[in-house]
Amino acid sequence: MRDIVEEDDEYSYTVIMKRIIIHSDINHCYAQIEEMLRPQLRNVPMAVGGSEEKRNGIILAKNDLAKAAHVKTGESLREAKRKCPELVIVHPDYDAYVYYTEKIKDIYRKYTDRVESFGLDEAWIDVTHSQRLFGDGVELAKRIQDEVYETFGITVSMGVSFNKIFAKLASDLLKHKGFVVIREEEYREKICPLPVEDLLMVGSRTRKKLNEMRIFTIGDLAAADPDRLQRRFGIMGVLLWSYANGQDESEVHEVGYTRPAKSIGNSKTVVHDITSMAQLREVFRVLSESIAARLRMDHLKCGRVSITVRSTELKSRSVQHKLMFFTDLAKDILEAAMQLAASLKMEEISLRSVGIQVTDLSSQIRFDQTDLFGNLNDVDRQRRMEQVLYDIRIRYGYDSCRMASSQVDGELTDFDPLGVLHQVHPIGALDGPIKI
């Protein structure tokens, strides 16, 4: 494995340490936590899924028996029930999932300060420097894996390697408390025969394009001409090539590190179809209030608004609009979103899910810009009003203060985007601009 030479000033001797990165992945996380809490669920096909009545009924995770019945993650509850009529559906308990995954990560944090979460169930752990305290990194990884099992009865797959990319790849190779080590001196024979889509950041579309270039395995990718890849994929092509060659020097971030947000968004699958612009406005109002509150919380302003609408035939459309000025007001986001919705020129409105996303986030802009006839005091008053509304809701619950118009169809806007978890959404693997 890659050696890290560390000078110790006090004793002036040199310690040679192997770079050891672990990637841990809790196997079918939600389902396993449910099984841990209720062991009888291990004996029946079981899946964690949303609510069919609220129409967000998809399979989020499943156990092995459900997998054997060909139940797939992401498919609708109805489809899953059709494949496996005896399937037991458990409603998700996010509170418990966050609690137990954090408790598991607390075990990792006992051994190093470099633990970087990748979603709820995955984490990278850099134990390079922990080896002085706890001994060989590979054995330490095994110990951590056993400790998680003994403490929580939950199995985690672990991949151990000399960089983050190969560690992640290794953890995906063997499920159910799998433990795979990929050393630098042997990575070629282990990694090269694997299909190219096993590499992080190669999705189905990239795989297809790579296959068209006659690149089928990671070995093919490693041996490909980087200039050719750059012409096809831009800078991303070179990045993939360097990943395939084991050239990933990216660090595992320290505990407490949070990456700056690139966008903030909220979406909602509504309880019944949206059939008019007035209904759409009410749903957008709830979403934009939540987004604006999150912007203000992070002291950010946004310069671009985009909306996504999904029809009952599950066709998605997305449009975006650059704002004249940066804003953190729900009112501005709502107006922009409604203009965008109008620009879609929908003949017949029948929407199942809608979402708003804001990008071009800036923490530098601390002033309010208005148009020629705007009044700055209005902007400030509006911000204070929205903040007070937010404070009331935080203190007395979301329902304590609502627009009268939302009561026309109370069911449609009966959700609280601020109350549920935001951190469970998948995050990207790349941190900042691509550096080769």
Binding site: M36, L37, R38, P39, Q40, R42, Y99, Y100, K142, Q145, D146, Y149, E150, T151, F152, G153, I154, T155, L173, L174, H176, K177, G178, F179, V180, V181, K190, L194, D198
Partner: protein, 99 residues
């Protein structure tokens, strides 16, 4: 063996550093004194759930009392002749090659 868990009321001493010491377990109308705590460790229960396990001696019997997030449960082991324990999962140690 079959395992059951019962959430119970426990009269608990909370030390100033946050540690807990179960004193009495309430069961039906009675209170059972925890005579001795033999070990304290974080582990999972075979009856489901996990937390801080207090191995307690009560009236000459050993009982596992779990502090699970914010409440206590008692693990109970019952011998059922027809019941077969599920196999204990053995860690896979091999270096895998994807097939």
């Amino acid at each position: 063996m079959k395992y059951y868990k019962y959430y119970v009321d426990v009269i608990t001493l909370i030390f100033e550093d946050g540690r807990l010491q179960p004193l009495f377990v309430c069961w039906d109308d009675g209170r059972y004194k925890v005579d001795r705590i033999l070990s304290v460790r974080e582990m999972y229960s075979k009856a489901g759930g996990c937390g801080i396990c207090y191995l307690c001696s009560m009236q000459g019997q050993m009982r596992k009392l779990f502090w699970e997030r914010n409440r206590w449960f008692l693990e109970s082991e019952i011998f059922v002749p027809s019941h077969i324990d599920p196999p204990i999962e053995k860690p896979k140690d091999s270096l895998a090659k994807k097939t």
